[in-house]
């Protein structure tokens, strides 16, 4: 007896997710990670001329900055080609000819990218933590050797200074925020790609969105607080503030590296904001994709 067709199936979404992930890994995107590793190790060697505080500061800034760039790029480039590629390969027709709802297809595709982003960020984080941990331990050993005859208290102060400049648990919160930012960019790219005619168009639009997103907070505050500007300018600012995401809210990494403790409430609010944006842009993408003629 045939099993009844279900309106929503995690199994079907899982199959599309796995397939998307396999396709994306075949696109050699993982070579980016190799370049990242080389840059990281290269910069680490170069920084041997600095003091340990300078070295750790630059290592953390460069590594987390590189993670942010690569994850954002990966999110935009990998998502931009999902639908156009499936249309070109005619895979989309094969899938949608089966009893697979369009939102399941889109969700499967998006989850594939999100999984790829999670794996990439996990690998980059592991590499970054390994380099930082190794350098920190090497500096700790060197300090202990150099201060072997110093009083215990001075040695402890020196070791605490090295530990304070080195690996810190807050960095993981920074990495999580980088991932959330990449997720929202992927969802927004998916939305743009549902009505874009080429993936070049999607990528170009997303580059502009990226820059505008970082200025959205300024536009929003100007719109809400400045009453003296003309109504045209206010309407323009309102559209920017309402449609675009506030990407500046996700730049917690600079402060984390500077040693500022991020309150849990702020991290939670930022995470919720990231999830909200991702869900909304995915819903908008699904809505447009339902009306798309294939």
């Amino acid at each position: 007896m045939d099993t009844p067709h279900r309106a929503f199936s995690l199994g079907r979404i899982g199959a599309i997710t796995t397939n998307t992930l396999t396709e994306l890994t075949r696109q050699k995107v993982f070579y980016i990670l190799l370049i990242f590793a080389l840059v990281l190790i290269g910069s680490s060697v170069f920084m041997a001329r600095f003091s340990f505080q300078q070295e750790f500061q630059i290592l953390k800034d460069v590594s987390l900055g590189a993670m942010s760039i690569f994850s954002s790029l990966l999110a935009i480039l990998a998502t931009a080609r999902l639908i156009p590629q499936d249309v070109e390969d005619r895979t989309v027709y094969t899938i949608l000819a089966k009893p697979v709802p369009r939102f399941e297809y889109l969700l499967g595709k998006l989850f594939g990218v999100l999984l790829l982003l999670a794996i990439s960020i996990a690998l980059m984080s592991a590499m970054f933590i390994a380099v930082l941990y190794t350098r920190e331990h090497s500096v700790l050993n060197e300090t202990m050797r150099q201060m072997s005859s110093a009083p215990r208290e001075e040695v402890d102060d020196a070791l605490n200074a090295v530990r304070a400049a080195g690996l810190n648990i807050d960095i993981l919160a920074g990495v999580a925020v980088i991932y959330l930012k990449a997720c929202l960019l992927a969802a927004l790219t998916l939305f743009v790609s549902t009505f874009a005619t080429t993936n070049i168009f999607t990528v170009v639009v997303m580059v502009f969105v990226y820059f505008i997103g970082h200025l959205q907070a300024t536009a929003r505050e100007y719109w809400l607080e400045q009453q003296s500007v003309s109504w045209i300018a206010r309407a323009f600012l309102a559209i920017i503030a309402l449609i675009f995401p506030d990407l500046q809210a996700f730049n917690l990494v600079d402060e984390i590296v500077a040693g500022v403790a991020i309150p849990l409430a702020l991290f939670a609010k930022t995470a919720l904001l990231g999830i909200f944006y991702t869900v909304i842009y995915t819903l908008a993408a699904t809505f447009v994709f339902y009306g798309k003629e294939l």
Partner: protein, 252 residues
Amino acid sequence: MSRVLFAFAMLLVFGVMKLPAERAVSLQHRQLHFEDVELNLDLREKMGQLGFIAALSGFRAMVADFLFIEAHVAWEQTEWGRVLFLFRQVTTLQPHVPLFWDMAAWHMAWNASAAAMNDTSQPRLALRVKAQREYFALGKDFLERGIKNNPDKPQLYEALARLYRDKFDDHTRASESYAKAAALRGAPSYDKRFSAYELSYCEGREREAYERLRALYDEGKKERLPTLIKRLKLLEDKLNVPLDQRIPDELR
């Protein structure tokens, strides 16, 4: 097409819903002074279009590091004007990194000032001294602004104390700065001791210095370091402390 327009209308509606959350996050950023960075036209002129765009796009820390490395190169080439110029940009971009303020002050007050004093192209001593003092003042300015941006970081108070002690010969202010550092969370244990040492050099405050040093001495063996004992003995002599109240002579 109508679906796309409808989707955008939907985003506008959701945009109204997200506004309070966005403003709450932004407000918290402001409360934590995350948005103290002044990315203005003046900075854009200094760092160029590309650097400015990068700084606006969430790569502020990386741009600051790049400029910091440039400043390091400028220091190696003893281009002091450029070192100052670059450190001003670095500290504008990353005002919450005490290391950058500390390094900027150190380059100005120690390195550039020494170079100015040994400048063979300037035969007049008075002008060399003037240039040296200007660099001391620049170092002090970096540290004071750094403290304003990072009032909870002991590292900058310590650097200011060293500057007062070594460059301005102002032991009172050095002692105050060490005391401020010692009062902060995460301060090294020596800050309290150093504050008392500096006070022991201040004319007219010997009694206060003696009491603080004696209190540290009474804390136990870990505080009984050679400098502390030496300063304590000097003050005992200076203040004519009764013999039975003095620290044992074998430590003299």
